[in-house]
């Protein structure tokens, strides 16, 4: 953050360095191995007294001179020049800390030049023994040059003791110096053979040609295995973090490594072929091909070295964008624009936002990324994002995937950079979200005569919202599976819960009876769940109409996993379809009671916010194929799975088959994190320091969205998801700690960068199991009383499923939800699709939207006034601060 940044556009992303450096090192290694090649080839010629061999050596020496001294020498200068403009801060460290290594290298470079000139220009003039000595001097000087330069290059990857105490020797004699020098030495010998072949195949005389080609092939082949062994040694001495990066933690290494292995094999095979007596028509192009293969092999090796060093330019000291590791806290607290010496826009204002974004891009991104160029092009990498998604991506950078540095700036800078990339580099003009205004769907509340009717039928949805994902062709997170529960109460002075002799039926409202028409679920159910399901039938065998089953344990009638869809048969989107529930006498068929209830279901699952793609349906909801594809591709890239191909081959990926999901009764594979812990833990790293908007990014509760699933009384009291569940970080940490406690150490990686926000430390976060340990209502409503100011539902979990709100009931067996409504839609809930849509039963039975029996309206069931708080303490208290309408 010390220097101006050269704005390179398409030429950025390390392309210039790669171009110059790979070309240089390819020739520079030849300059090392080729020296020994010359002197040993001359020795062979002298010993066998073969003038033809000597003549070849002399001609090869000319080629060597012209290539290594001119191209090699000048491209070496080129590397200096290019790093000084692309990484001036790092160059400055390398120069200042190792100036005398460079200076010593220069001396050997001078000796190389003089000895090579003398060697070439006196080839036929000098006494052979002295001439050979000159050759040996060249070879030795060249190798020392390699050693010295490699000391500094290897320092960049493994600074060793330099990191703690500085100093020339700890840096130079770093852990990877010896193995990497050995590797480069053997590589130089291999390349001497490759280059030798280039001139040897052109020898006109067949006998000599064969002899020299085999000689060169031997140079290629014999050191090859030593080179591989040294490569292995080099890998072995690397710190684990670097080795991991090389072995695939940096996803680009998988391709580079694969290419490197193939190229090495091709090089070796080519060398073997050269041993055969090939005709010149074959050997000349093969020699040229081997030279090209060698170049790319060298390129893959240097690429790997650079990639292994990510996200640093000097490992553990300076990030690739020149920010010192020690400067990161300051950059994040005060802002990188303030820290950077060469920024003009120290404060971001609406007027300078674009310019500030450009400066941020130059400072933070351009050292590794190009814009539309051949190397690390930022455009395809960020094409899927809008402002929110990219901001989130930047938020999570460097936390879970170590090849990028953490974002070095403030929140405002992060958003400005995201905006700049989306709006200016991609030219996307994001329309402000169109707020869904809500709509008033027709609703007929069934009649209830308090004097005549003998039964009260109460029904609710177990979760208050069931989400579903509908890119079933590719992946399955949640199927259509909405559960309705009901209780029938026979009214009287002492009402009774009816559990036998009746049939409770349910029927979806007209227009929602054919979910298979618009949901692809049934086409893939067999592939995903292993069982064929008739269209319109859910995973528990229930259709859109049918009878409920009595669950003795729960004490409720239940229709499990009704596959209701938010897509009406005739089109559009309605996340709150109504069901009519009827209770009939089993024997007589007499209708005892009828009511209605919504089965809340939404596909407004916001994966697209970060994974790209649009909404599948009406620009409102549903997962588009592009979104699902990106999720799978991302999973493949990070976890080395093969899901995208698997899905394309007709086998959609069912997340819960590996990641346990109690909501679906799936045990997973027992080894991986539960789905809840994995998905919240991962994404929490990308959505830090936010409020409910972090939850709303994925769950269907965006205030401008078409579902707004949190619609109960709490939201009317100004509360949101975080009041009960904690912030996303808290929520994720609770789940991850639960996984840790269950013996899954991999949770730690997701936890490393998460800071709890609702409590002071990680130690205070109580572990929890998904769907079982939930915030207990009684955390805030102690003894069913009004909550104290600032009370939070977070961190005191229900001990088991039996304590869950949706399971719990009073001493008489009446379920909490029966009177208070579904979770997330507690009475008096306000539904965006109609004022009374979520409060049909209170309206029906008592003419208001309050919980059943509220404001001492005991007569709904009891037919007489009551003075005992039998259901729960405070149940006779008048409703506080809410409209009784």
């Amino acid at each position: 953050m010390n220097y101006p940044v050269w704005e390179l556009g398409a030429w950025g992303g390390g392309w210039l360095i790669a171009l110059i450096a790979v070309a240089h090192v390819y020739v520079a290694h030849f300059a090392v191995g080729g020296g020994l090649f010359l002197v040993l080839t001359e020795t062979m010629g002298r010993r066998t007294n073969d003038p033809a061999v000597l003549d070849y050596t002399r001609r090869h020496a000319k080629f060597f001179l012209l290539l290594t001294m001119v191209f090699g020498g000048l491209s070496g200068v080129g590397i200096w020049l290019v790093i000084s403009v692309l990484h001036p801060s790092a160059t400055s460290v390398l120069i200042h800390d190792f100036v005398f290594a460079w200076a010593t290298e220069w001396v050997f470079f001078l000796v190389e030049i003089v000895s090579l000139f003398v060697y070439y220009y006196t080839f036929d003039k000098m006494v052979p023994s002295k001439h050979l000595l000159v050759g040996w001097i060249y070879a030795a000087a060249a190798w020392v040059s390699l050693l010295l330069v490699n000391g500094i290059i290897s320092f960049m990857l493994t600074p060793g003791g330099w990191l703690t105490g500085g100093g020339f020797w700890p840096g130079f004699l770093n852990p990877s110096l010896a193995p990497s020098t050995a590797f480069r030495t053997f590589l130089a010998l291999v390349l001497a053979g490759v280059y030798g072949l280039l001139t040897a195949v052109r020898i006109p005389e067949p006998g000599l040609r064969t002899k020299m080609v085999r000689w060169c092939a031997a140079w290629l082949l014999l050191p090859f295995l030593l080179m591989l062994a040294a490569g292995w040694w080099s890998l072995a001495v690397l710190p684990e973090s670097v080795r991991d990066m090389l072995l695939g933690a940096n996803p680009e290494m998988i391709a580079v490594g694969r290419v490197g292995v193939w190229l090495a094999a091709a090089l070796f095979l080519g060398g073997l072929l050269m041993v055969l007596r090939l005709p010149r028509t074959a050997s000349v192009p093969l020699a040229a091909l081997l030279l090209v293969i060698g170049l790319f092999y060298m390129g893959s090796f240097e690429w790997a070295r650079e990639a292994g060093r990510r996200p640093y330019i000097i490992y553990g000291h300076m990030y690739s964008n020149s920010l010192l590791l020690s400067q990161m806290p300051q950059a994040q607290a005060q802002g990188v624009l303030k820290l950077a010496r060469w920024s003009q826009n120290k404060q971001i204002t609406p007027e300078n936002r674009q310019q500030a974004g450009r400066e941020l891009y130059n400072l933070l991104c351009s050292s590794c990324h190009s814009v539309g160029g051949p190397m690390h092009d930022l455009l395809p990498l960020t094409a899927k994002y809008g402002g929110f998604g990219l901001d989130s991506q930047l938020d999570g950078m460097g936390k879970l995937l170590g090849y990028m540095p953490p974002f070095a700036g403030t929140r405002a800078e992060r958003q400005t950079l995201a905006d700049y990339i989306v709006r200016n580099l991609h030219g996307k003009q994001e329309e402000p979200a169109v707020e869904f205004k809500g709509q008033e769907l027709p609703l007929e509340i069934p009649p209830f005569d308090a004097h005549k009717d003998a039964y009260v039928l109460l029904c609710w949805n177990d979760l208050g919202m069931h989400c579903l994902t509908d890119d079933d062709q590719q992946l399955m997170i949640l199927p259509p599976a909405n559960t309705l529960q009901a209780q029938l109460i026979k009214r009287g002075e002492t009402p009774k819960l009816v559990s036998q002799g009746v049939e409770i039926s349910y029927a979806v409202e007209p227009g929602h009876s054919d979910p298979a028409k618009r949901l692809p679920f049934w086409r893939y159910a067999k592939a995903i769940f292993g069982k064929e399901l008739p269209p319109g039938v859910g995973l528990a065998g229930k259709g859109l109409n049918g009878s409920m089953d009595y669950d003795e344990k729960l004490g409720v009638y239940e229709a499990k996993f009704i596959p209701v869809s938010p897509y009406p048969d005739a089109g559009g989107f309605n996340p709150y379809p109504l069901f009519t529930i009827e209770a009939k006498d089993k024997q007589t068929g007499q209708l005892l009671a009828r009511t209605r209830v919504v089965a809340p279901v939404s596909s407004e699952v916001g994966c697209r916010n970060c994974h790209g793609g649009g909404w599948r349906v009406d620009n409102l909801a549903g997962m588009a194929s592009a979104t699902g594809e990106d999720i799978l591709a991302t999973h493949d890239r990070i976890n080395r799975t093969d899901f995208k191909r698997q899905a394309a081959a007709g086998k959609p990926v069912f997340c819960a088959s590996c990641h346990a999901d109690p909501a679906l009764g799936m045990a997973g594979d027992g080894k991986r994190l539960s789905f809840s812990a994995a998905i919240h833990g991962w994404h929490a790293n990308y959505l830090t320091q936010r409020g409910a908007e972090a939850c709303q990014a994925c769950h269907p509760d965006s205030p401008s969205g078409p579902t707004r699933c949190l619609r109960g009384l709490h939201v009317q009291m100004g509360q949101d998801c975080t009041n009960c569940h904690g912030f996303l970080e808290d929520h994720a940490l609770g789940l991850l700690k639960g996984e840790q406690a269950a013996g899954k150490p991999q949770a730690a990686a997701l936890m490393r960068h998460l800071q709890p926000r609702s409590v002071a430390s990680l130690a205070e976060v109580n572990p929890r199991a998904p769907w079982v340990n939930q915030p207990d209502c009684l955390n805030c409503h102690r003894d069913f009383a009004a909550p104290e100011a600032g009370a939070s539902g977070f961190n005191r979990w229900t001990k088991g499923a039996e304590e869950l709100y949706r399971v719990r009931g009073d001493e008489a067996g009446v379920k909490c939800a029966a009177c208070h409504g579904s979770p997330h839609a507690l009475y008096p809930a306000k539904n965006p699709y109609g004022r009374d849509r979520d409060v049909v039963q209170p309206r029906q039975y008592q003419g208001n939207a309050l919980p059943l029996g509220a404001n001492q309206n005991c007569k709904v069931c009891h037919t007489v006034e009551m003075d005992s708080e039998m259901h729960h303490p405070n149940s006779l208290r008048m409703v506080r601060s809410l409209s009784t309408d």
Binding site: Y3, V77, P88, V118, Q344
Partner: protein, 357 residues
């Protein structure tokens, strides 16, 4: 914006700044001499080629230069490494900044030098067979080398002027030059003319050496070489004055009595140059060469003072923290001694090659 605030923080140096100044100056003088021989030689060769057009044979002077030109390029490049290295030790924060501002040009240096180098080899190896095309080949080399010099002149002046750095904010694409600096052209010309003169003197030295060994062709080299030296130095006098007058007034005055050391060094150098001119006009090559060498050394010192004067308000390497690590310097010293012995031995061996039997 305060231009001083743009100066990047500099890193610590391992031994006292004075050592690096010594190393910088010593190696810079060596680089200058090789560069002068290279550029001057190339220009003289081009002039010879142009003058010799239409003649059946390549003029012997041109031939003599053609053979030596690749060596001078190799040496110039190699001897350019240590001064560039030591310059970075002292002034890296300034140099990198100027380099970034003019990055595209800065990077062209090695490409241009490479083209010149290969052209020089083609010129050397194919001199006779090229015919008239050789003028184009050596012309290309000269053009590239002059361009490299121009880029360096821009960079070396831009690094001294933080006030000019704000140009970056209007153009961060690395295509800035320091063309608005009034010293740029006279300074550039100063180096080019010095190259013609010293290159000419080097040619005369070669001729003089050959003449002493009984080679009659040496006389012509001396004549041509001294001509270039004399005319080049005379032109240098005028350009030197222009350069001096183009300096910011407070700096110029330092060299006109404002500072004893500045004034003494400059005018001693000028006097030494005049002495070399007089000696050259009398055909006394070795003493002229010695005087010219003295001039180069004095001018290099003067240049160092000029740089310090420019930077005085902003930066001084003497203020850099020192980490006190002498052992790597001793290793370098040892390598330098061993390397020098080896080189001396190699050159002696080469000089004696073919004479053993």
């Amino acid at each position: 914006m305060d231009p001083g605030s743009l100066i990047p923080a500099a890193d610590a140096i391992p031994i006292a700044a004075g050592w690096f100044r010594l190393l910088l100056l010593a190696t810079f003088v060596l680089h200058l001499l090789a560069m002068n021989a290279m550029l001057g030689g190339a220009v003289i060769a081009l002039a010879q080629a142009l003058g010799g057009e239409g003649q059946p044979r390549v003029p012997p002077t041109e031939q003599a230069i053609a053979v030596k030109l690749p060596f001078t390029i190799a040496l110039t490049v190699n001897l350019g490494v240590p001064p560039l290295l030591f310059l970075q030790v002292h002034y890296g924060n300034l140099l990198y900044t100027s380099a970034v501002l003019m990055a595209a040009w800065w990077l062209s240096i090695f490409v241009l030098a490479m083209v010149a180098y290969y052209a020089a080899y083609v010129y050397d190896f194919r001199l006779a067979s090229l015919g008239r095309v050789r003028t184009l080949v050596i012309g290309l080399a000269v053009l590239c080398l002059l361009a490299v010099a121009f880029v360096f002149s821009n960079s070396m002046t831009l690094m001294l002027k933080p006030t000019a750095w704000t140009a970056y904010f209007a153009n961060p694409r690395g295509t800035n030059l320091n063309l608005a600096d009034p010293t740029l052209w006279p300074r550039y010309l100063h180096f080019v003319l010095a190259s013609l003169a010293v290159g000419g003197l080097g040619l005369a030295g070669l001729g003089s050496w050959r003449r002493r060994r009984g080679d009659l062709g040496g006389k012509e080299l001396v004549r041509v070489g001294l001509n270039w030296f004399i005319w080049g130095t005379l032109a240098q006098m005028a350009d030197g004055l222009w350069f001096l007058l183009s300096l910011p007034q407070e700096i110029m005055l330092l060299f006109l009595g404002g500072s004893v050391s500045h004034t003494a060094l400059l005018w001693l150098g000028v006097a030494m140059g005049v002495g070399a001119l007089v000696l050259a006009s009398k055909g006394r090559v070795p003493p002229a060469a010695a005087a010219a060498l003295g001039t180069v050394v004095l001018m290099a010192l003067t240049r160092d003072l000029l740089r310090a004067a420019y930077l005085k308000p902003f930066f001084s390497p003497e203020g850099l923290p020192v980490t006190a690590q002498a052992s790597p310097a001793l290793v370098f010293l040892a390598a330098l001694i061993v390397g020098s012995i080896l080189i001396f031995w190699l050159l002696r061996l080469a000089a004696g090659a073919g004479k053993e039997s």
